[in-house]
């Protein structure tokens, strides 16, 4: 095709039109999938999770290669957790069948959202894609993934592998789709589409705010800036190990990572020592200045350091650190807008600030979150329950992880929080959900409510299914072919046509039957003509 014609064909509506067709296909898929039963949904979810699990390692490497962020080995763990792990975590929960609450004379009928539009980040690309798809499949929703442009290739590969497995296991066509060439105007168009039932937005604040402004229901999660308060009652060696392990995990690319250690003065030196022993390098005052300049010198966070290792950051700045260094600690005198290093740092650079007593620790932690990360996560290392409770009541975080690595613990790994890579930041964080996002956030329930008068007896629903004796559900894989009844030769030929329409490779048996029917029809036609 020549350039002039191609230019005339390349109007603005080409992209949005193609996206509208994805949405429309998703609606079809969602309409069918909403009527699948529990067993079919379990089969589909499991198949998709296994396909994702099988690619956990290769896509972890692909993600690091494509984005330059993080540690492949850690990403692999996250990918595994978000595929098979999520399946295992929820396999005994049922989001597909009715629930009878006999004592309240209520029956609850699950109603999936419909079409989920999921924005996924560059920092945790594949695992977030996996996670959101798993949630959608478990709850009988269709999902369209819009990956971050920096991570579009690995994200699409993961999503498409899950789509293929899900469809092979019986899911309707188009249940999982992915925008392979995401652009801002396109994302905005889809977000505002009335065909989207709910937006699951993970990413920077602008993306999340855009989701909330779209006019569609949205579950958006914002940035973190987690304080890790260590008081005088903490087990310092254990705390140090947990903090270093957590902060260095995937080169600190999770929003649940510790941002700044807040240490009670009485144990601060000992804690620093323990942190050093665990793999932390304590920067000297002039080095802290260089780090601050490198990370924030341009006014905003230098994205070049996102997900890079401590050694690489040190070498870029020109600081000599031992080869065993996992985290660079930067002692700072205060937190707030006049100390850039107290902001969120998506790299293994960890602020360290001393406070005279518990009360100051709590107010310093509050100050950290006042800057960013409201509603997100906080950690505390302490054995004093009164301190823990006061801290949790004061700091504007909706999950407070106690004596555990914050990056994993807040995400529900190694704690009993819901396992999630999408952290609800609630009203503090201008979000609609304050919990770790899970499947339950993608289903509403229709409640059948009987009169509470004793004379009105509650019906017996125990042996009923919501969708009984339904007509066959369309799955989008074949177009039917039938002959009518008023057409000559119709009845005999119908079976063969159906077999043909069933698509794919014809079995020998069907082919033979077809040939036979064809022979009979031809013979009859010939006989009729001879008369």
């Amino acid at each position: 095709m020549n350039a002039i014609v191609e230019e005339l064909l390349a109007g603005e509506k080409r992209q949005t039109g193609a996206a509208d067709m994805m949405l429309q296909l998703a609606e079809w898929a969602a309409a069918s999938y909403a009527r699948y039963d529990r067993a079919a949904v379990d089969r589909i979810t499991k198949a998709a999770s296994e396909a994702a699990y099988a690619l956990a390692g290769s896509l972890a490497e692909a993600a690091v290669k494509e984005t330059g962020f993080g540690v492949a080995e850690h990403k692999k763990i996250k990918n595994e957790i978000c595929s098979r792990g999520i399946y295992e975590a929820y396999k005994n929960e049922d989001f597909c069948s009715k629930r009878v609450v006999a004592e309240q004379k209520i029956v609850e009928v699950p109603r999936p959202a419909g079409v989920v539009f999921a924005l996924t980040p560059s920092t945790n690309p594949v695992c977030t894609v996996y996670f959101k798809i798993m949630l959608a499949l478990m709850t009988r929703n269709a999902i369209i993934i819009s990956p971050h442009p920096f991570a579009k290739k690995c994200s699409a590969e993961g999503a498409l592998a899950m789509a293929k497995a899900a469809e092979q296991a019986g899911a309707p066509a188009g249940i999982i789709q992915v925008i392979t060439e995401p652009t801002l105007p396109l994302i905005e168009h889809v977000m505002k589409s009335p065909r989207v039932s709910v937006i699951l937005a993970t990413g920077g604040s602008p993306v999340v705010r855009a989701a909330y402004s779209s006019g569609n229901p949205a579950i958006g999660v914002g940035p973190g800036n987690a304080p890790a308060f260590v008081d005088s009652t903490a087990d310092l060696n254990a705390a140090a190990k947990r903090i270093i392990g957590s902060k260095s995990f995937d080169n600190s690319i999770l929003c649940t990572n510790e941002s700044t250690v807040v240490a009670e003065e009485s144990i601060a030196d000992k804690l620093l020592q323990a942190l050093g022993k665990a793999g932390g390098y304590v920067a000297k005052p002039d080095e802290v200045d260089s780090i601050r300049e490198y990370l924030f010198g341009l006014g905003s966070f230098n994205v070049e350091v996102v997900g890079k290792s401590a050694a690489e950051i040190a070498s870029r700045i020109g600081i000599k650190v031992p080869s065993s260094t996992k985290v660079i600690l930067t002692p700072i005198d205060r937190v707030g807008i006049d100390e850039a290093l107290s902001r969120e740092k998506l790299c293994p650079v960890l602020g360290f600030v001393r406070v005279p007593h518990v009360h100051a620790g709590i107010s310093t932690s509050r100050a950290l979150i006042r800057m960013s990360g409201a509603g997100h996560s906080a950690a505390i290392h302490s054995s004093n329950t009164a301190t823990i409770l006061a801290y949790a009541g004061a700091v504007k975080a909706l999950r407070v992880v106690v004596n555990a690595p914050c990056s994993q613990g807040a995400a529900g790994f190694g704690t009993h929080l819901a396992p999630s890579f999408t952290i609800g930041t609630g009203f503090f964080g201008r979000s609609s959900v304050g919990e770790n996002i899970g499947p339950k956030h993608l289903v509403n329930w229709t409640r059948i409510a009987y009169s509470d008068e004793a004379s009105e007896t509650f019906g017996d629903f125990s042996s009923l299914e919501v969708w009984n004796n339904q007509a066959p559900l369309p799955v989008g894989r074949d177009s039917p072919m039938t002959l009518g009844r008023l057409q000559e030769g119709a009845e005999r030929a119908d079976a063969a046509l159906f077999a043909q329409a069933a698509g794919g490779a014809m079995t020998d048996e069907i082919a033979a039957m077809r040939d036979e029917i064809r022979r009979i029809v031809l013979e009859e036609l010939r006989a009729a003509f001879r008369k």
Binding site: V5, L8, P480, G484
Partner: protein, 431 residues
């Protein structure tokens, strides 16, 4: 007559249509209870000039396959007018060659050259002329009650209702054989004096009788055996309507000449195309000026056609067509169970559908009740027991559900009327 009162403006308009435009056709619709005057149109909706909304499952034989005024077609037409007009048909033209290249790729094999017309009938004429030139024979075989359009050769090849009216029938050159009758076909071809067999892949105006398994492949083989060409009239069956881009692909044949019309225009700019296999396009080399049409392949139409193909080639289209046709199949089967003594059969290939009513001219009352219930579908002129039911390939799940709900109601009412049940009484529909 529709259950709503006509506005004075509409009454006046209908009067004028009888006076100035086409008295026979206008009156026919008034008598059939369909007083439709189409005003606005959008997506799969028509709006009567009195404001009533109808779901369009007539689509003018697939012309509005991807919906009325598809926004991407409107855009490409607007953009096109900033640079192009129809063009000069004597010269190589950017749009024409680009579309021809795209069609060659889409049609497959050595279907290669595209010759343009401005409508389906003209395109059929081109196809017949091309076959005659290639084979240096005159006879054309077509199906009894076939419909190929109204131009000179096309009308002669079609049902005699339209050819005899204008003394355009040529029984010695145009032979009709019954559909699905291979023996008759073989007899017609045996003398090897036939240039081409022309076939609607599924005869539309005849109520979409479906080709029996193997019929089309056998016909293709017969044309090969008896030195004739196979012309596939894909005007109504092309463009994803059968679940494949071209209907012949669904039936596993490879024609010598393919005729494309209606939907390729997107209903936005008239255009029709004839795609010819390399060996049979000799006249294009011998005398490239042999067939000419000032408006054939107008370049604005080429742009619209390319955009139409682009939309249909998107990976979402195929599953969407599958969903729509699956839901229609299961939904209509449920309705058939309710009214099994009236609504007796479904002829279907993708979204090409004929609904059978076991009552003389049964599709006419169904059409009327559908109209009154907000759905526009047309009966089959050449078999009025059958309603042509032609959903678009990009219909939404919600709209399909609404359509089925309306169809169920309308068929129930039509049945009651035909069977003399209820207050509608037993009015019969004469021809």
């Amino acid at each position: 007559m529709a259950d709503t009162e006509q506005s004075p403006a509409k009454q006046e308009f209908i009067r004028k249509s009888i006076q100035f435009w086409n008295p026979g056709k206008t009156q026919f619709w008034q008598d059939a209870g369909v007083d439709l005057v189409i005003d606005r149109r959008q997506d799969y909706f028509l709006y009567d000039m009195d404001g009533r909304r109808l779901i369009d499952v007539h689509l003018n034989g697939g012309t509005y396959n991807i919906g009325h005024r598809h926004p991407e077609l409107v855009e490409v037409l607007n953009r096109g007018t900033q640079r192009f007009d129809m063009g000069n048909h004597h010269f190589p033209a950017l749009g024409r060659t680009a579309l021809a290249e795209k069609l060659a790729k889409s049609c497959g094999g050595d279907l290669h050259y595209t010759i343009y017309g401005s409508g389906g009938g003209e395109a059929i004429d081109i196809a017949i002329k091309t076959a005659r030139h290639a084979k240096q024979k005159k006879k054309i075989v077509s199906i009894l009650k076939a419909y190929h359009g109204h131009t000179g050769l096309a009308v002669a090849a079609g049902a005699d209702r339209f050819s005899k009216l204008f003394l355009a029938d040529k029984p010695d050159e145009f032979i009709n054989v019954p559909f699905n009758d291979l023996n008759a076909m073989e007899d017609a071809l045996k003398a090897k004096d036939v240039a081409a067999v022309i076939m609607e892949t599924i005869p539309a105006t005849y109520g979409f009788p479906m080709p029996l398994p193997g019929y089309l492949t056998e016909v293709k083989k017969l044309t090969e055996r008896y030195d004739a060409l196979y012309i596939a009239d894909e005007v109504q069956t092309g463009l994803m309507r059968t679940g494949e881009m071209w209907g012949y692909q669904r039936y596993g044949i490879h024609p010598d000449i393919v005729v494309i019309g209606k939907g390729i225009s997107g209903g936005m700019y008239p255009i029709a195309c004839v795609v010819v296999r390399e060996p049979y396009a000799g006249w294009l080399k011998q005398d490239g000026f042999g067939h000419m049409a000032t408006m054939g392949g107008a370049e604005l139409g080429c742009l619209v056609a390319m955009k139409t193909l682009e939309i249909l080639e998107r990976p979402q289209t195929r599953p969407m067509v599958n969903y729509i046709s699956e839901l229609m199949a299961s939904g209509l089967t449920e309705i058939m169970k309710l009214y099994s003594d009236f609504f007796v059969g479904i002829r279907q290939c993708g979204v090409v559908m004929g609904l059978e009513f076991d009552y003389p001219e049964g599709a006419k009352p169904v059409m009327k009740h559908l109209y009154e219930n907000g759905v526009w579908a047309i009966f089959s002129t050449l078999d009025p027991r059958v309603l042509q039911f032609k959903p678009g390939v990009l219909m939404t799940a919600a709209l399909c559900e609404e359509l089925l709900e309306r169809v169920e109601r309308a068929i129930g009412l039509a049945r009651a009327e035909c069977k003399g049940l209820g207050k509608a009484g037993g009015k019969r529909y004469a021809a």
